[in-house]
Amino acid sequence: MKQILVLQNQRIGDTLQTTPLLCGLREKYDPCRITIVTNRLYADLNLGSLADEIINFDQNGLCETLQDPNLSIARKYDYARGFLDPLCTRRFDLVIDVPADTNMHLLASALRNAGNVRGVTLSPGRSWSYSHPEVMLLYTIGLCREVNRFNLVDLHNLLAGVRPSEQKLRLPLDQDAESYAAGFWAENGIDPQKDVVVALQAGASEERKRWGEVNFAQLARMLVERLGARALLCGSSEEQSLGARIAREAGVPVVSAIGKTGISQLASMIRGCRLLVTNDTGTMHIAAAVGTPVIDISTGPVFFRETGPYAEGSIVVESDIGCSPCNFNAVCRHYACRESIKPEMLLRLAEMLLYKENAAFLSAQDFQGVRIHRATFNDVGRLDFKPLFRYPMSLFQFLGFFYAHTWEVFYGMRPSPKTAAAILAEIAEMHDIEKSWPFIFSGLKESAQDLRHVEEQLCVGEKNLCPARASVEEFEKIYNELSFFGATRPSVRHFTTLLSLALESQSGVDPLAALNKIRDSVRFLARQVQFLRRQLVEAAQLLENGQKKAS
């Protein structure tokens, strides 16, 4: 029986986003035994039916021990080995190191009897080694968000090399949690079958990700007064004062479950709700997992295409100001994205999800300053967010369609490529290309030229890479030039970043020994670049012809 180990030490949302992967592994390798390492903080997350064994990593306990000034390094070392040893000596045929946590990368590196590791490990040069092209793809996404349309769940599946038959998050509910939820409803005079309960999650892991308590309070009031709904506040015990302020500001009866539930209990309660309005949070993924419709308010650095709710029909609202989404490390002084999303807009969207069949009754005029997207799975089963109205688009949004298509083709999701014309038709369905034309045209040609340069350099590099140390050194010169080139041109940055990860993976390895791997990576990249460039050139030609005809 195949022994599989899955490493996932991130937060609730990330762990839930790993659940399709677990199902995919089971389907692909059955019979198999799946062991998952997760953070002890989320032991409450009931993954029992998805894995055969759950190992809770008590990171906080280890951290406290390591911080103890009275314990020697030797004692601390022994404590750490106490966790590692039982795991490291076991045999695993396949290890999936789900991103992105250095603790798990190191754990993967420490396994002595691991067969195939799909993930990141420590290289002989003491940098990171990315095991497969799919792993590298995932790690470039955060650096090249401008052109990304892939959701993390799909990227996780790619990383693990699986295609789950069902595209959904899983969160098995237990009887205790269900009983707790029933008791809670009864205690608060709510009948989830009859009442329209709308859950609100106003907290988030950081300030920039929060829509704001006043907005949530106004929305709660409108939900109660205009839609006759019952508002339920969700959150952790640390958010109790936030909940109290919202309840006070709302001025209508709201029910608060903040700090009263564990993860399973919260999941049971969310399942009883008709809708969740939320910031980008673990609660959002819980709702997606239990099938409750979601409106996700995407502010600050949240990039919904990556982390948005993985469930058909979910709605995402984002501001259309230029700085959104902001850089991970940006310090915001205005929170303008938060201001442009009005409670009235959320009310209209809630009304649509609760009472209407479709979005036909909505008007773009009511949503000035924001963009609304709806989650849907495309023809190859990848989650995509399509705009509710035909907005104009930026160059990078335009490029994003072609990048996504390239990845689908090259990472085995799409058996035969679409034509550029077909992609353009798809884009035209969603966006107003006419209005976007001035933003796209010149940039598109430049991007194609930049891609040509990258392609040429890669081809030269690949041809000259031969089993001689000098040739590898020569290639490094090409890499340095490309790396600078990519840093200044976002349209090709993805490829130059991929190249840097491919080279980093071989750090500390003798260049001659690593030659074949480097050459394979370069060849693979060059093919992708060439494919993308040709499609862009063709698309530019088609668009130009269309413009000429129109004029």
């Binding site: 020697s72 603790n103 190191l106």
Partner: protein, 606 residues
């Protein structure tokens, strides 16, 4: 017997140094003694009366009764004057009284004019002490710890030197403020580049070793940017402006890092990015600062601006430099000589390849300064190896320059020291053609060679004798001729070389390590008991000898720990660094340590 003789006799029993100083000081014309209406004598300093011209005793009684002494465990009185208020204080309180007087001439006048027999034995009289030393006074430290140390300022005395007295007051208030249960947090600010960068780095690790929470603000990542700026704007009119802007940026960055870190003390190293604006801002925000000026004050005059704004200013020179600092009202200045870092500067067994590369009879590792260029011309018959930049390639020294004058790292430097029979340590000079005639401070190389267990010949320095025993632990020369003789002698006597080098290393390890220096530095700033409370104990659990003693045979860490000196304190990051040097696929021990380090870096998760 006059009052002066009588008072001095009593004072001599308690404070002989002060008594001697008073005896040696001439009577000052700026102090005039007059009779108040009550017939008590009072002084006029620069024409101003220091006590009431009507009745100084009554005035003192009123003054003291207005003070909130409470349950004082010690009282610090600022200003002695003619001590009428001190007499009143002694009547009112049994607490020990520490009196600070800035002016020696005032003290002399008081001793000459009044019978102080009753009060002198009952108090601790300090003349112009460094403000921080008040805080480290045993009684004051105890009282500060208990929050019961009132400060009584004699305003008329304080007006004679307000900057000084307010500095004392500020330090005392800080002494009270910093008395918390938290570990002492020190932020070490490095320069962007240069020799004092590694000093900063060692200081940070030394502070950690003495039990502080040490945070190293590494400014070296800005080096590339600075180089680029300088190179691309070379000889342009905009260059000075851009350099100034860049310096301001670094200062602002430093300020924000300080705000972010919230340290108890900011410790700047020479050439670290500081400005008067930055230091003033820190002073306003009551953030304590110290500066270690590890360079020659005659060559780098920027101390003029910054020393008065630092709470404590540490130097490697004293004498004339201290007088200059006094003039600037930079009261808290201390002599803190350089030292070595045993984990870096240590004896090394070199393989044949390293010995061939770095070995020589005579070597100089350092910049080719003016005097070195001159002196080495007279030593070419010894075929010296000259390491580092700045050596004149078009001179007779050209054949001896190594690696085309490239700079070298610490590891290479230590290899050079270990591989050379004789390390020539000639302190730099920009004007002398050989040994600097009035050279005082001792350079870091002296300690580093000693720590490395290598042999050196060092030029004469006035401070050297206090740090190493000359002739036994270190050999010095005065001129080229003497140096040539010494070289010939010690090349012929390897055993002597070895013995001297061993003694030199023992002295360096016992007296001149960063760990000790940092403790000495902190002791100048904080009372000893406060330091003990706010640092972890010195017998660290991660001392190699302790670790080896407590671990079972065959422990994973044992082979690695055996490569360190027994008194060395290991850290997780240090172990990782040393393990990584081996290269190849990372071993389980290294991965585990990296994992531990990573968990610590991430901290607790919520």
């Amino acid at each position: 017997m006059s009052f002066f003789e009588k008072n001095l006799e009593i004072l001599r029993q308690h404070n002989a140094g002060l008594a001697q100083a008073l005896l040696a000081s001439p009577a000052s014309p700026s102090i005039q003694v007059i009779s108040a209406k009550s017939r008590d004598l009072i002084p006029l300093a620069e024409g101003r009366a220091l006590h009431s011209v009507y009745n100084p005793v009554e005035e003192a009684a009123r003054f003291v009764s207005a003070q909130a002494l409470g349950e004082a465990r010690a009282i610090v009185a600022l200003g002695f004057g003619f001590a009428y208020h001190i007499e009143e204080l002694l009547k009112k309180s049994r607490a020990p009284i520490i009196v600070v007087e800035r002016r020696l001439d005032v003290l002399r006048a008081a001793m000459e004019s009044r019978d102080l027999e009753q009060i002198l034995p009952a108090l601790t009289l300090l003349h112009s002490p460094a403000p921080s030393s008040i805080v480290t006074n045993k009684y004051v430290a105890d009282a500060l710890g208990a929050g019961a140390c009132p400060i009584v300022t004699h305003d008329a005395s304080a007006r004679l030197d307000p900057e000084y007295y307010s500095a004392v007051k500020l330090r005392m208030q800080r002494g009270i403020r910093s008395d918390t249960a938290k570990r002492l947090k020190v932020l070490v600010v490095s320069p962007v580049f240069g020799g004092s960068w590694s000093v900063a780095h060692y200081c940070a690790s030394g502070l950690k070793d003495v039990g502080c929470e040490s945070v190293f603000l590494d400014m070296s990542p800005f080096h590339q940017a600075l180089k680029y700026l300088d190179e691309s704007l070379k000889n342009t009119t905009i260059q000075p402006r851009m350099s100034e802007l860049f310096h301001r940026l670094l200062c602002e960055f430093t300020y924000w890092k300080i705000r972010q870190t919230e340290p108890d003390l900011v410790f700047f190293l020479a050439q670290a990015p500081v400005s008067t604006e930055l230091l003033s801002k820190l002073r306003e925000e009551k953030i304590q600062t110290a500066f270690w000026f590890v360079e020659n004050h005659k060559l780098f005059p920027y101390w003029n601006e910054i020393a008065p704004l630092c709470d404590c200013f540490f130097t490697i020179q004293r004498g004339e430099f201290f007088s200059k600092l006094d003039v600037l009202n930079a009261f808290d200045h201390f002599y803190l000589p350089l030292c070595c870092e045993p984990s870096a500067h240590r004896p090394q067994e070199l393989d044949a390849q390293d010995l061939a590369r770095y070995g020589s009879d005579l070597s100089v590792a350092g910049f080719g300064y003016y005097n070195r260029l001159h002196m080495l011309q007279g030593l070419t018959d010894f075929s010296p190896k000259l390491w580092g930049p700045g050596w004149n390639r078009s001179s007779a020294l050209a054949p001896f320059i190594q690696d085309s004058g490239a700079d070298f790292d610490v590891e290479t430097m230590v290899k050079i020291y270990n591989a050379s029979s004789i390390n020539l340590n000639l302190h730099s000079s920009t004007y002398a053609t050989g040994v600097e005639p009035d050279g005082d401070f001792v350079n870091p190389r002296t300690f580093e060679i000693a720590g490395s267990g290598a042999f050196q010949l060092c030029d004469e320095r006035s401070e050297l004798g206090e740090l190493f025993s000359i002739g036994s632990e270190i050999i010095t020369f005065r001129n080229l001729q003497g140096l040539r003789e010494l070289i010939r002698h010690y090349l012929d006597h390897p055993r002597e070389r070895k013995e001297i080098a061993n003694r030199s290393r023992q002295r360096a390890l016992s007296d001149h390590t960063y760990r000790l220096r940092m403790r000495q530095m902190l002791e100048c700033i904080y009372p000893a008991d406060l330091l003990d409370r706010r640092t972890v104990r010195l017998d660290h659990p991660d001392q190699v000898s302790r670790l080896l003693a407590e671990m079972p045979a065959g422990h994973d860490l044992q082979p690695l720990l055996k490569t360190y000196q027994p008194d060395f304190h290991v850290t997780i990051s240090g172990l990782i660094k040393d393990l990584a040097k081996a290269g190849g696929t990372p071993a389980p021990v290294e991965i585990t340590l990296r994992w531990m380090e990573n968990v610590l870096t991430q901290g607790l998760r919520r």
